[in-house]
């Protein structure tokens, strides 16, 4: 059957309503953009990661020990499922950087004297590989080098096992092991403070007295091999050599963070678009429902002429599908482009050696599916109406509105303008329509909140982490455990005002069938500088005989207060303790466990008792304390809180610059789409009435005021509801983050609500301008001549 003319009507209607069509399509487009962008970045990161892992032979199982004989490598290689074994020496050393007050920290990793490492092979990007036998030649991690302006030919001063060494940088390198080079306990990687230094095995063996021995081993497994049994077997082999627990890729810090980010993108890329597209569906419902109401005569007419109800419904369905298709196309294009830009941003944030961007064609299918689904939901109500409208009924104009006198009419005449009365009566006449419109506006505001609250949550984490939990100026760790009196030496340093010792020991926690590897912190009974906090950010006292776990860790172990957790200490005489879980600490980053320092030392039964201290330093002391720390041979690392805060702020600011700008733009588009459509539909509903007002002598402003006034009133009513919806949407968004490494607290600050309300009000203003222009252009004759 020929439907040529109906299609022409479709085309004309789409063009006539192009403003509304575009506004509605843009709402869908924002959802699709997020979807395509997140998927694009996610897939590209996966591809880059996998190819990088493969080319540079990233290991699958990792383990450290105190000192294992090299011959153990054979036994490890004989474990079932093990394909390749690489033994290494891995240590830490402070670096004396002229441009830093405090020492930086290098992770030293051995390279075989001949050939290249079979696993975790660094990729030299500048300069050359180290020469065999050249004991002071090193490869340096590229980001650290860049942060200090270093390159091949420059030198680096390190204190290796208490001895000053002058190292020659011969190459700059990257490694799949350090795509995300974050130090334990830090919120973000400190590029200028954390270095990776690769040097010859002989040099490191000599320095750390590990001739014919290793303290770190990495394994590759046969394809498809489950790492768990290998990890268990390896633990068994290393136990008597001071093994501190083997682990698979899943727990390798760099991999775990990258994985969490990719997973985050995966769920964010579904949850956020789903919220937006639900809003879009709702807005479409309102718009289409009202548009159909204004076209009921045309619908009746088509039916009277013998178009079947399905043909007519198809006509309006096609209208909505066209909107959805436009949204899908715009969103896919924009999302593809933004995904490319974001992948570049990510590739830089994570240190990838190359950039690759690819879009799985399936993502466009998914986009089309999402768009059509939201369109279909959006027209369901309207189509039901089209199907149900009997032709004869539709031929009569909609029954004239029944206006009633209400409370407004009883107010003194001077108090409410005639426009105000009209607005109120109109809303009173169509309460459901008004409520739906208000709900649409509230949803728009809610979306704005859900796209912006992340800033609040991140700021909250930084505040909790660095202002309430950790208040020390410096944290110093030692190359090996020291007697408690060392803290007096530190207290005697010029400018040091407070010293709080701690001890960190590798342990394995067990509860039932679950187990977790972690470095437990032995703390003084009432820590003042660095302390665990409860969910109200109040410090938790450290119980003498009990365990405090971070929320994330407690969840992973499924531990509840009172449960007896088994603590296998993986150091010294390797005692096994049973400690009741006393409290959980509300940490947002990583896993942590705390216990009393005295109890820990009793269990270890060693003279030495601390391996780090937190310090408060008087700023007036200037450089002196830092210089003394740089010179101290027993110092392994020094971290300064101010640097952490600054890095966090800087990284946040950079991320915000990109993400927040994009998201706020999206949110503004959504808010404008909702309000503009509300205004335009109201205009077509009331066009005749407004034209009549103009004929009767009302000014353009007064006539437009009727419409804008109604919309403004609905907006004001919608704002508080929008705040509530925003909180709900934000909550739904936090659910999409895997809390493995990072818990996103649900924080929405007043400024975010204000911003969201501001965006909605700006959209209202813009829509009001459009309405005013339209009302000004209303052709009075035309409107009165044709019956709507």
């Amino acid at each position: 059957m020929a439907l040529g003319t109906l299609n022409r009507k479709l085309g004309r209607d789409l063009w006539r309503l192009r403003g509304q069509v575009l506004a509605a399509a843009l709402i869908i487009a924002t959802g699709i953009t997020l979807l395509v962008m997140a998927r694009g970045v996610m897939v590209s990161l996966e591809v880059i990661r996998d190819s990088y892992y493969e080319r540079n032979h990233f290991a699958q199982v990792f383990a450290s020990a105190k000192r294992a004989p090299e011959r153990l490598a054979r036994a490890i290689a004989d474990l079932p499922g093990v394909r390749q074994v690489e033994t290494r020496i891995v240590e830490a050393a402070p670096l004396d950087m002229p441009d830093l007050r405090e020492p930086a920290t290098a992770q030293l990793i051995s390279l075989p004297e001949r050939g290249r490492p079979g696993l975790n092979r660094p990729l030299v990007r500048h300069g050359r590989w180290i020469e065999p036998g050249q004991r002071d030649e090193i490869l340096l991690s590229e980001k650290f080098a860049a942060a200090h302006g270093l390159g091949p030919g420059d030198r680096l001063r390190a204190t290796i096992n208490g001895r000053r060494r002058d190292l020659a940088i011969v190459g700059l390198a990257l490694s799949p092991e350090f795509i995300y080079a974050i130090a334990p306990g830090d919120l973000l990687p400190l590029e200028d403070h954390n270095a990776v230094v690769w040097m010859g095995r002989d040099a490191l063996a000599a320095a750390f007295d590990l001739d014919g021995a290793f303290n770190n081993v990495v394994l590759d497994l046969s394809p498809g091999m489950d790492p768990a049994p290998v990890v268990r077997a390896l633990d068994g082999l290393l136990a008597r050599y001071g093994g501190i627990g083997a682990y698979g890729r899943k727990e390798q810090p760099s991999h775990a963070y990258l994985d969490a980010e990719i997973e985050g993108l995966r769920s964010f890329g579904l949850v956020s678009p789903a919220i937006i597209l639900a809003v879009a569906a709702f807005v479409l419902n309102v718009i289409i429902g009202r548009t159909i109401e204004t076209e009921r005569e045309q619908i009746g007419l088509m039916k009277a002429f013998g178009y079947s109800r399905w043909a007519v419904a198809g006509h309006y369905g096609a209208f909505v599908l066209a909107i959805a298709a436009l949204g899908a196309v715009i969103g896919s294009a924009l999302g593809a482009w933004l995904g490319w830009a974001m992948t570049g941003f990510y590739a830089d944030f994570f240190t990838f050696p190359y950039l690759y961007y690819d879009l799985d064609p399936a993502v466009f299918l998914l986009a089309a599916l999402f768009a059509v689904a939201s369109g279909a939901l959006g027209m369901a109500r309207g189509l039901a109406r089209v199907l149900a409208l009997p032709p004869a009924q539709a031929m009569r104009t909609a029954p004239p509105a029944v206006y009633r006198r209400g409370w407004v009419d009883r107010l003194p005449a001077g108090l409410v303008s005639p426009t105000g009365r009209k607005v109120k009566r109109h809303i009173g006449r169509w309460p459901v329509r008004a409520a739906l419109t208000a709900l649409g506006i509230a949803m728009a505001m809610g979306t704005v909140v859900s796209m912006r609250f992340m800033d609040d949550s991140m700021a909250f984490i930084i505040d909790v982490q660095y202002n309430r939990a950790q208040r020390q100026d410096l944290t110093v760790t030692f190359t090996r455990a020291q007697a408690a009196r060392v803290r007096h030496d530190l207290a005697a340093l010029p400018g040091v005002r407070a010293v709080e010792p701690f001890r960190m020991v590798p342990v394995r926690l067990r509860l039932g069938a679950r187990s977790e590897r972690i470095a437990i912190q032995g703390l003084v009974p009432r820590p003042v500088l660095s302390r665990p906090l409860d969910s109200r950010q109040a410090p938790i006292p450290v119980p003498e005989a009990g365990l405090t776990l971070s929320t994330i860790l407690a969840q992973k172990l499924d531990a509840h207060p009172g449960d007896a957790v088994i603590v296998e200490v993986l150091e010294g005489r390797r005692p096994v303790l049973r400690l009741p879980l006393a409290a959980t600490a509300d940490d947002y980053v990583g896993k942590s466990a705390y216990m009393g320092l005295a109890a820990l030392n009793r269990a270890l039964d060693e003279a030495a008792s601390i391996n780090g201290t937190h310090l408060m330093v008087d700023p007036a002391a200037g450089e002196t304390p830092y210089r003394r720390l740089k010179d101290a041979p027993l110092v392994r690392s020094v971290s300064r809180r101010a640097v952490n805060i600054e890095t966090a702020r800087k990284t946040m600011a950079e991320a915000m610059l990109v993400f927040s700008a994009v998201f706020t733009g999206f949110a503004a588009v959504i808010a404008f789409g909702v309000l503009y459509n509300g205004a335009r539909v109201a205009l077509s509903e009331q066009g005749r009435e407004l034209a009549s007002l103009r004929v009767l002598g009302f000014t353009r402003g007064e006539a437009a005021g009727v419409l804008v006034g109604e919309l403004a009133l609905l907006t004001v009513v919608a704002l508080p509801l929008g705040g509530v919806l925003g909180y709900l949407f934000a909550w739904a968004t936090t659910l999409s983050y895997d809390p493995e490494l990072f818990r996103v607290p649900l924080r929405v600050e007043p400024r975010t609500y204000v911003l969201a309300a501001g965006v909605v009000l700006a959209a209202l203003g813009a829509s009001a301008l459009v309405v005013r222009r339209r009302v000004a252009r209303l052709n009075l004759i035309d409107v009165l001549k044709t019956r709507e």
Binding site: A2, T5, R8, K9, L301, F305
Partner: protein
Amino acid sequence: MTTSAPVQDNRPAAEPVYRCRGLSKVYGQGEAAVHALRDVTMDVGDGELGVILGASGSGKSTLLNILGGLDHPTAGTVHFRGTDLTALDDGDLTAYRRRHVGFVFQFYNLMPSLTARENVALVTDIAPDPMAPEDALALVDLEGRMDHFPAQLSGGEQQRVAIARAIAKRPDVLFCDEPTGALDSRTGIRVLEALQRVNKDLGATTLLITHNAVIAGMADRVYRVVDGRVDQVTEPDVRHAPADLDW
């Protein structure tokens, strides 16, 4: 779309096109009930030009809507050439309207987003044996305004587009609800002439609603509707040409 004819042409010669028996239509219920039609029994002859006369609110449009398959009666039956319209479902009624019926409405009811030609094509697109939209428009003297939108046409021109739209499918029956209601007498006469031409040339049974008694002068038969009843059916001795009518 239904392709099989739901309405069979199995009438004996000189059978009426429509046979209504005990038609009534009630809107609403209880005290608020409005009896728009009360027990209407009437026949409409094949090829006739009938005029339905009656006061406002007497039930004329209701009657026409039921005959045209736009509405269902509350009680009674309507047979179109032997088929009971009241027994048809929505799909069959749609097919009935598509094949057999042309409508002209009091308020033109053109699609504002379609031109005159396209408004006609809207119907010819789905008719089995239509004339070209251009020919239909020529029949109502509008060949010069074919590509204008409704808002660019006068009221009389819009009504003639509506007539062209109704006749372009070569309907068996043509229903016109106050086709001249909004027009001056000179324009009204041109519209009536177009209708008469269609009645004669195409042989379409034509029913025309009006409350202007003068127009009854061109009818083969006049039905008077009073308060929901067909009160009186007359067959005037003389049929005037529309041009001879005067109001």
